[in-house]
Amino acid sequence: MRTRRTNRAIVTLLAWGASLAIAFPLLWALLTSFKTELEAVAFPPRFLSFDWTLANYRNVLADGDYFHALINSVVIAGGSSALVLALAVPAAWSMAFAPTRRTRGILLWMLSTKMLPPVGVFIPIFLFYRDWGLLDSRFGIALLLAAGNLPIAAWMLFSNFREVPGEILEAARMDGASLWQEVVTVLAPLALPGIASTFFLVFTLAWNESFWTLNLATTEATPLTAFIAAFSSPQGLFWARLSAASILSIIPVLLIGWLCQRQLVRGLTFGAVK
């Protein structure tokens, strides 16, 4: 028994060491966000013995740019995710409950559009957006992010709906429920956990998306990705401020991620890992 207990202690110690090392860059940024700029660049670095200050958070929050970007991120990620669900729920319903011979082909085709790197379609979309006044618009960006996440959502919902027993839907239909009633009052409550985790996954992906948001947003529509990317200029020399801004930008999706990590990670494998 003794060896088993020491074994357990060693494995636990190693696992905690490795996991803390992986999270370390974030923990370090959290610490740095409470330092003054001078202490942030101190060498050797200060670990806990410094004058803790909230000044960096006050500065970032007092900066109008942060709230502007936060609101844009919420609107773009929320809007695109709502659009994704509005398109993917009916699509997944039809593929799961009214399949045709083409259903399998359509699913694979949807997946294959995900293999198309954004740079393959970037130029036509950029020029089209320029001509139609969609550059630097939240709607334009949300539309593209929705298209990018739609295949993932359709797959997640499809595999989720397939687990709903068809007999329940049939029973509702026998009782005279219309298609709309069948979907809203019978299917939706049963599939709600799946729909919620799909929403959270596409929301997270849209929040962090850093190709379209950095290329299409210039001033009006800039979300948090662009707000942070602006620190790559000499402003990045202000480490404490960069750290506070970073923490404030990642907290919302970090919380979502912590709450539903299993579903999110597995959702991203297109149902290939059970």
Partner: protein, 295 residues
């Protein structure tokens, strides 16, 4: 084409079924197939944003120029290197971590939260935090760690820009690999492993002959899904080095050709090469995932 076997056929629902899937297909066609066709058209013309009126057909001249240009091959090699380094680091470290977390560990739930965190960090944040707080050669944390063991500080981004970017991206993907592999490990029969242990099999043999074969499929899936995202690495390059021959990949080259040099034709040609490259890799993924539909 075969029908999906586990789905019941219900002909009377086909009408609404077709209608309900149409909007999703429309958006995907509008955002992927249609612009891809336009990209192909652009790649065959001499189209520069500064001279928008002279868009003549030039055949494959853009591709010929691209293949002959000194920027193209480094960008292609960098794309491959970036993918390879990130895959190797994230999967090797992710596997080690998964094996560790699968052991008799106290507080596995809390550890999962620590490990998953980097996965939810937006690319500009992770790139800038690593570049400044950790890798900066004067007062970054790595410079301090090096000084503890008496080594000179390493100037990451000027000496090894591509490797630096690869490490940052590997840090973002390591959690994904670790958690997918951990999930698979936990579905692995512990009786089988205990039986092997009782029979006196050494731990390395168990790992090699029992555990790794079980993980082959999830590892293949992690490889392919990471690859889809890694072909398009962009933000990490933009905010750290801003390009430069040593750290430019195909995705960044398309951006530079179009947005900095205004050469739509050349950029479209480079974009199409990225698409072809992605499709070769995708062929394997669609097969692997398609199989899970039947399972």
């Amino acid at each position: 084409m075969t029908a999906v076997p586990s789905i019941r056929q219900r002909s009377y629902l086909r009408g609404p079924g077709r209608l309900l899937i149409a909007p999703a297909i429309l958006l995907l066609v509008a955002a992927s197939i249609a612009p891809l066709i336009v990209t192909i058209k652009f790649s065959l013309t001499d189209y520069r944003l500064l001279f928008p009126n002279s868009t003549g057909f030039v055949g494959l001249a853009n591709f010929a120029h691209l293949l002959a240009s000194p920027d193209f091959w480094p960008a292609l090699i960098n794309t491959l290197l970036l993918i390879a380094v990130v895959l190797v680091v994230s999967i090797a470290a992710g596997l080690a971590l998964a094996l560790l977390l699968d052991g008799p560990v106290l507080g596995r739930g809390a550890l999962r939260l620590l490990v998953i965190s980097p996965f939810f960090v937006m690319p500009p944040v992770s790139a800038l935090l690593w570049k400044n707080l950790l890798m900066q050669p004067v007062s970054g944390l790595f410079a301090w760690l090096a000084s503890l063991v008496g080594l000179p500080a390493f100037d990451w981004f000027s000496r090894a820009p591509l490797l630096s970017i690869a490490l940052i991206v590997a840090w973002q993907w390591l959690p994904f690999a670790a958690l997918i592999l951990l999930t698979s490990l936990q579905s692995f029969s512990h009786e089988l492993r205990e039986a092997a242990q009782l029979d006196g099999a050494p731990p390395l043999a168990i790992l090699r002959h029992l555990v790794l074969p079980h993980l082959a499929r999830p590892i293949a899936i992690v490889v392919m899904i990471e690859t889809i995202f890694l072909i398009g690495i962009f933000a990490e390059i933009l905010v750290t080095t801003g390009g430069g021959a040593a750290s430019t990949n195909l995705a960044f080259q398309v951006y530079a050709q179009a947005m900095l040099r205004y050469d739509v034709g050349a950029a479209s040609a480079a974009g199409l090469i990225a698409v072809v490259f992605a499709n070769i890799l995708a062929l394997f993924l669609v097969r692997a995932v398609g199989r899970s539909l039947e399972a």
